[in-house]
Amino acid sequence: MLSRVANSVYWLNRYIERAENVARFVDVNLHLILDLPDQSMAQWEPLVVVTGDLALFQEKYGSPTQEQVIQFLTFDDHYPNSIVSCLYTARENARSVREIISSEMWQEVNSFYWLVQRAAEHSQEVDLNQFFQEVKLASHRFAGVMDATMSHNEAWHFGQMGRLLERADKTTRIVDVKYYVLLPSVQDVGTTLDEIQWIALLKSASAYEMYRKRGRHLITPRQVAEFLILDREFPRSVQFCLRQMQHSLYRITGTEWNHWNMGVERSLGRLCADLEYMTIDEMIQQGLHEFLDHLQQEFNRLDDAIFKTFFAVNLDPVRHGVS
C-alpha cells in the first residue's frame, strides 16, 4: 500500500485514541474534585504536566484554573492535542484515505467531528460529564466499526499500531497523573481519600471493574500500577497494547514470529520482553515516574522507527505484481 496512506491510517487512529484519552484525563479529575473535602485542594496543573505541554499552556494562560485547563485540553483549536484539534486532524487524515477505509468509518469520524465542533461552539453551556462520556463512546464506536467493517489488511494493521501505541502512551500518563496529584500531600497516602483517588484513576482507564474481577480486593498503589502496566488481559494495559501491536507489526512485515528482520521489530520485541520479565517492585524501586518517563521515550523511538521503516521515502524498487 501507499506509504502516505499507511501514514494517514496510522495517525487517524492515533488521533481518535488521543481524543478519547484526553477526555479520560479531564473526566477523572472532574470526578476527583467532587470527592475532595475541600474544593480549594483541586489541582489542575498535573493534567497539563502529564501531557508534556506545560510550557505551551503557561505561555497562553498563565497559572492553571479549572476553566482554563478544560478549555486548553478540550476546546482550544490552537493547541494541537486538544480534543477539538485531534478530531480535526483525524478527520483530515480520514479524508485523505476515504477510499481505503470503509464508508462507515468515515461516517463515524465525521459524526464524531461534528459532535466535538458543536460542543466547541457552545462550550459555555456544555454538560462536560456528558460530553466526555460521548467522546469516549464515539471513539469506541469508531474502533468497533473499523473492526467490523474494514478488512483486516495491511492498512487495518497500521491503524491498530497507531491506536495501540497511543493507548499505551496515554495509560502511562494516566498512572502518572496520580503521581503528580499525590506529590503535595504525601501524608494522605493510605487514607480513604487516597483510595478514592486510586479508584478514580482506575475508572478513568475503564479499569475499575476489571481490576476487581482479577480478585484483588484491596486497592493499593502497587497493584493498580501493576494492573495498568503489566496485566496481560486488560486491553488498556501497557503490556497488552504492546503485545497486540507486535502482532500487527508482524502481520505487516510477514516476518516469522520470534524472529526479527528490521530495527522496528527488534525495538518493539525488546520492549515487550522488558515488560514481560520485570516486576512492579523493580519499577517502583527505580522510581515509578522515572520508569513511566522511560517508557514514553521508548514509545517515541518506536514511532520514529515506524516512520522511517514504512512511511518515509523509500526508493528500493520491487517487482511489479508482488504484493
Binding site: 483530515e92 485523505s96 526508493l315 520491487v318
Partner: protein
C-alpha cells in the same frame, strides 16, 4: 404542499405544459407529491440533506473569517428525461465526441483541418489549451478524450443546445451517484412505480475505460486516480471514484519516475503504475515540460507517456478543444471529419477576434452573455442583461484589448424545473451535464448532473455561484 398553484410562466418547464397540466411522464409523480401530507416533502428534503452532510458530500467555502463546510444544496424534485429525448441526446453526444476526438488526433498530428482551411491556424496556436509538447503523441487506440462532461441546456421552445464540452477534467459525476442514492431512500415507492435507468454502474464503466488503456499483455494492470490533494474542491469525487473502482488514490508526491516507468511509493518499496486517471490539469502534470513551479505533478512523466509506458486519461492536450473559440468550430468539425450534419446544435457564438462579430458584441452587450475563452466554472463571465453599466464598460474595454480571449452568445432562457422554495414550488433554471466515456466504443451514461440556479431568476448554475443540484431520471423504454 402541492402543484395546484405552480405557474410555469413563460418558460419551457420540464414538468408542466401549462399551469395544472403536467407532462405525461411526470403525471404520476405530480399526483403522488400532491397526496403527501403537509410538511412531508420538506421533511424528506431535510432528511436528504442531512444524509449528504453525514456522508461528507461537502465542499469548502472560504470566507475571510473562518472556513466553513457546506453540502452542495440538493433539491429532491428530480429532473425527468423521457426515453425518446434521451435517445436523441445519446446519438448527438456520440457524434460530437467522435468528431472532437478525431479533431484532437488531427491537430496533434497532420493538422489537416487547418490545411484545408476549416479552422484558422492562429485560432489553434493562440489557444492556451494547445500544447505543442503533445505534438506527435499517440495515445493508446488513438483516443484522447476518455471522459467528457458536455453541458447541455434547453431554450424557451425546449430545443437542446450544447454550451460547452469539458474535455479536460470534468467533475460532478460523484454527485450523480450520491444524489441517486439519497433519492432512493427519499422516494423508494416512486422508484418501484417508474422504470428509471440506474446510475450505479458508472464506476464499472469508468474502470473498463481505464483498463482498456493498459497494454494487453499485462494481466493485472495497475490503475490509479491522481488527485491534486485534499484541498482541491473536487477531492471528495476523486476519493469516491477511486474507492468505487477499488484502485489507489495517489497524489503527485506518491509517484516518481524510476527506470523509465512511473512508480508509486508503497510500504514495500516502489510499484509500477500503468494507467493514471488524472484529475490534475495538463500544465501541472510535469514540471519538466509544463509549469516548472508545479508541486502537483511528477517530473519526467511526459517522457514516460511519450514512450508509451504509462497511459493518461484524459490525454494531455485535450484542453485545446475546451477553448470557447475552438468550440465554435465543432459543427464544422462534425461536417469535416464525419461528413454529417450535427445532431446537437451549438449555441450561436460571436468570436470577438473577428472584427464584424466584435462590433456586434460591443453594440449589444446588454443582451449577450460574454465569456472568457479559457475560464470555466462561471468565472470571467458577463451576463449582459443583469450587469451594471460599469461592469459592461469594463468588459467592453477588455474585449477591445484582448479580442481573442472573448466570445459572446445570446442569453438563453434556460428551461425550468419545479424546486422547493420555503413552503411551495417555484420554477428554477437548470442545465444538464451528461458523462461520456470513450473506450473502444463511445458510451453515454444515462442521466448526468442536473445543476439548478437556486436564486430566483438566475441563469448561473455553478456551485461557486449559488447553484445546487437535482437528480436526473432518464426513463427506460
Amino acid at each position: 404542499m402541492n402543484f395546484s398553484d405552480y405557474d410555469p410562466e413563460d418558460f419551457y418547464d420540464e414538468w408542466f405544459v401549462r399551469q395544472g397540466e403536467p407532462r405525461p411522464e411526470v403525471a404520476v409523480l405530480v399526483e403522488r407529491i400532491n397526496q403527501l401530507p403537509p410538511g412531508e416533502l420538506q421533511q424528506r428534503q431535510q432528511a436528504a440533506q442531512a444524509v449528504l452532510m453525514q456522508m461528507g458530500v461537502t465542499f469548502q467555502v472560504y470566507s475571510d473569517s473562518a472556513q466553513k463546510e457546506r453540502i452542495w444544496p440538493f433539491d429532491v424534485i428530480p429532473r425527468v428525461v423521457t426515453a425518446q429525448e434521451w435517445h436523441f441526446l445519446e446519438r448527438g453526444l456520440k457524434q460530437r465526441i467522435q468528431a472532437l476526438n478525431l479533431f484532437l488526433q488531427d491537430i496533434y498530428h497532420d493538422q489537416k483541418i487547418i490545411k484545408d482551411g476549416i479552422i484558422p491556424a492562429e485560432v489553434i496556436h493562440s489557444s492556451a489549451g494547445y500544447l505543442p509538447a503533445c505534438q506527435g503523441l499517440d495515445p493508446p487506440g488513438g483516443v484522447w478524450c476518455h471522459i467528457t462532461g458536455s453541458d447541455l441546456v434547453r431554450d424557451r421552445q425546449g430545443n437542446w443546445w450544447v454550451l460547452e464540452d469539458n474535455l479536460r477534467v470534468p467533475s460532478g459525476v460523484s454527485y450523480v451517484l450520491e444524489n441517486r442514492r439519497v433519492m432512493k431512500n427519499t422516494f423508494p415507492k416512486v422508484f418501484r412505480m417508474l422504470d428509471i435507468c440506474p446510475t450505479d454502474d458508472y464506476p464499472g464503466h469508468l474502470l473498463e475505460t481505464l483498463l482498456n488503456l493498459a497494454p494487453p499483455y499485462l494481466d493485472h494492470p495497475c490503475v490509479v486516480v491522481l488527485t491534486p490533494g485534499v484541498y482541491n474542491s473536487a477531492y471528495f469525487e476523486h476519493s469516491f471514484l477511486a474507492q468505487q473502482m477499488g484502485v489507489e488514490l495517489v497524489e503527485g508526491r506518491d509517484l516518481i519516475v524510476v527506470d523509465g516507468y512511473v512508480q508509486m511509493r508503497t510500504t514495500r518499496g516502489l510499484k509500477r503504475v500503468d494507467v493514471i486517471y488524472r484529475r490534475v490539469d495538463d500544465v501541472f502534470l510535469d514540471p519538466q515540460v509544463f509549469n516548472p513551479h508545479s508541486l502537483l505533478g511528477i517530473p519526467g512523466i511526459m517522457e514516460v507517456y511519450r514512450a508509451g509506458r504509462v497511459a493518461l486519461a484524459n490525454a494531455p492536450g485535450t484542453g485545446v478543444a475546451d477553448d470557447k473559440v475552438v468550440y465554435a468550430y465543432v459543427p464544422e468539425m462534425i461536417r469535416y471529419y464525419l461528413d454529417a450534419e450535427p445532431l446537437l446544435q451549438n449555441v450561436p457564438t460571436y468570436l470577438c477576434w473577428r472584427a464584424a462579430d466584435r462590433e456586434y458584441v460591443l453594440k449589444h452587450l446588454d443582451e449577450l452573455v460574454v465569456k472568457s475563452a479559457h475560464e470555466a466554472g462561471g468565472y470571467g463571465m458577463l451576463m449582459g442583461q443583469s450587469a451594471t453599466p460599469a461592469e459592461r464598460e469594463s468588459f467592453a474595454a477588455k474585449i477591445q484589448q484582448f479580442p481573442r480571449n472573448f466570445i459572446a452568445q445570446p442569453t438563453l432562457s434556460l428551461s425550468r424545473v419545479p424546486t422547493i422554495v420555503g413552503d411551495h414550488f417555484e420554477g428554477r433554471h437548470v442545465d444538464l451535464r451528461p458523462y461520456i466515456l470513450h473506450a473502444q466504443e463511445i458510451y453515454v451514461h444515462p442521466g448526468g448532473l442536473t445543476r439548478v440556479a437556486l436564486q430566483k431568476g438566475s441563469l448561473v448554475v455553478n456551485s461557486s455561484q449559488g447553484g445546487g443540484s437535482k437528480d436526473t431520471w432518464v426513463l427506460a423504454g
